[in-house]
């Protein structure tokens, strides 16, 4: 491993080709949902040097099939393994869903910008997640909980399609016990569900937080993020204090190929986490 991590930047030794992945060994694959699994990989003996910031992503290579960008969903304070929660949505992720302990995959990263957890010190943090969007936020949640005394109120509003499609259910209970206020909602449910039913923006509307001293992190389907941001600004959270994580198809992850260009920025290099204010005009622009 030759990464020397400093914040969101990344350096490689001059002899390394940044497009060549390192070989990681699969430690475990946990089925989270019907179409979602958590892959834990390790680079034996060298993981101590691997550092990432919450919100960053890796390029994961299933040899013989292809490479995909996947957000890191592990604990940034823990070393020894890399954790990714992956939704099976195409040939590459489908092939990854069959990985077994001992199999090898390629990893390049970490790449991209991160959730501003340092800037949030002393403030309330409102996290809005939709569906698989909870996975890129998990490192930020774990970071805040690991440093619980540095933050004000920690709130998670989590929306999913149905109760059986909610990620990290058991872990969310542990987060509650560690001081995270969690409100969950689903689009529809069966009668045994005792939580909210409705859109996640509704939780924001009736939320109890201090907008002036709040930083909001939003991740989920883009359409959900648009409405969530609107609900946050309607609740008087300044748009300078809202951050969103964007996604687009990527290829190089280094800002060279332009595949993930979004208006004037590249999602891989300038994102995936953006201050909302920076990309607000493009989120409202069709065909980008």
């Amino acid at each position: 491993m030759t990464y020397v991590k400093d914040g969101a930047s990344l350096e490689r030794s001059k002899t390394d080709d940044p497009m060549v992945p390192d070989l990681y060994e699969v430690k475990s694959l946990l089925r989270e949902l019907d179409d979602t699994f958590t892959l834990t990989v390790s680079l034996p003996g060298q993981m101590e040097q691997f550092r990432f910031s919450p919100g960053q992503f890796n390029m994961l290579y299933k040899f013989g099939v292809g490479e995909v960008p996947i957000s890191i969903s592990g604990d940034p304070g823990a070393t020894g393994e890399l954790v990714h929660t992956i939704r099976n949505v195409g040939p590459v992720t489908d092939a990854m869903s069959y990985l077994r302990p001992g199999d090898m995959i390629g990893v390049r990263g970490p790449y991209g910008s991160s959730w501003p957890v340092e800037a949030a010190v002393g403030k309330d943090v409102v996290i809005v997640a939709g569906g698989i969007g909870l996975a890129p936020l998990r490192p930020a949640i774990l970071h805040c909980l690991n440093h619980r005394d540095q933050y004000g109120d920690l709130v998670l509003y989590y929306g999913a399609r149905s109760p059986s499609e909610m990620l990290y259910e058991r872990e969310i209970e542990r987060w509650r016990r560690r001081g995270l206020h969690v409100e969950e909602t689903v689009d529809h449910a069966e009668p045994s569900w005792t939580g909210h039913v409705g859109v996640v923006t509704h939780l924001i509307d009736r939320g109890d937080f201090h907008p002036d001293k709040t930083l909001a992190f939003v991740c989920g389907p883009e359409i959900m993020m648009r409405y969530a941001v609107q609900a946050l600004t309607d609740s008087k959270v300044p748009d300078t204090q809202i951050y969103v994580s964007m996604e687009r198809n990527m290829k190089c992850a280094l800002g060279f190929c332009g595949r993930c260009q979004y208006g004037p920025v590249f999602i891989c290099r300038d994102g995936p986490v953006f201050p909302y204010q920076k990309i607000a005009p493009y989120m409202k622009t069709r065909e980008i």
Partner: protein
């Protein structure tokens, strides 16, 4: 009228901006009610002659489907308004409503309120003005639910494969950062 009831109306957002006299008039149509967990206190097709200001607890709006469990399509909780079928003829409920937790609420007799609105159009205007945004927000929320935002998108193609066997023909799927 119980003084506590008027206080509830004084602070409830649905009555924001109404003068004290109007709120007092509306409070005359209200009473405190309690529904225990599991109680179905609204049934689809029944006459809708009441609405609720929920003070504590949560209610589930359900659609019953023959041969399967009911589907919960929305919930209403503390400080929310439950029910607007009483606003428009033929004043019929469109869903069942079950108490998920014990519910303490103020129920407003809609027959009484409609009569007061008819007798004094200024009251009617004030009330409908405050109630319409609630209906609009419910409609917006329903539209968002219809979009199924958490479903797998169908339009975005996965990046071309660089090596290995060609992908099996399959519906295009994204391979974006997750």
């Amino acid at each position: 009228m119980i003084k506590g009831l008027e206080h509830v109306l004084d602070v409830h957002p649905i009555f924001a901006g109404m003068d004290q006299e109007t709120r007092h008039l509306i409070a005359g149509c209200g009473k405190n009610v309690v529904h225990e967990p599991g109680d179905y206190f609204i049934r689809e097709g029944d006459e809708a002659n009441v609405f609720y200001l929920i003070r504590h607890g949560r209610a589930a709006l359900e659609v019953h489907v023959p041969g399967r469990e009911p589907i919960v399509i929305a919930t209403a909780g503390e400080n929310e308004v439950l029910g607007w079928a009483w606003l428009t003829p033929p004043y019929r409920w469109h869903f069942d409503v079950r108490a998920v937790e014990q519910i303490r609420a103020v129920s407003i007799d809609a027959v009484c309120l409609r009569a007061k609105c008819k007798a004094d159009p200024a009251v009617g205007f004030a009330f409908y003005k405050n109630f319409t945004p609630l209906i609009a927000s419910r409609l917006d929320a329903t539209r968002l639910q219809l979009i199924d935002v958490y479903g797998q998108p169908k339009a975005a193609p996965e990046p071309e494969l660089e090596s290995g066997p060609p992908a099996k023909p399959a519906p295009p799927k994204p391979a974006d950062p997750q």
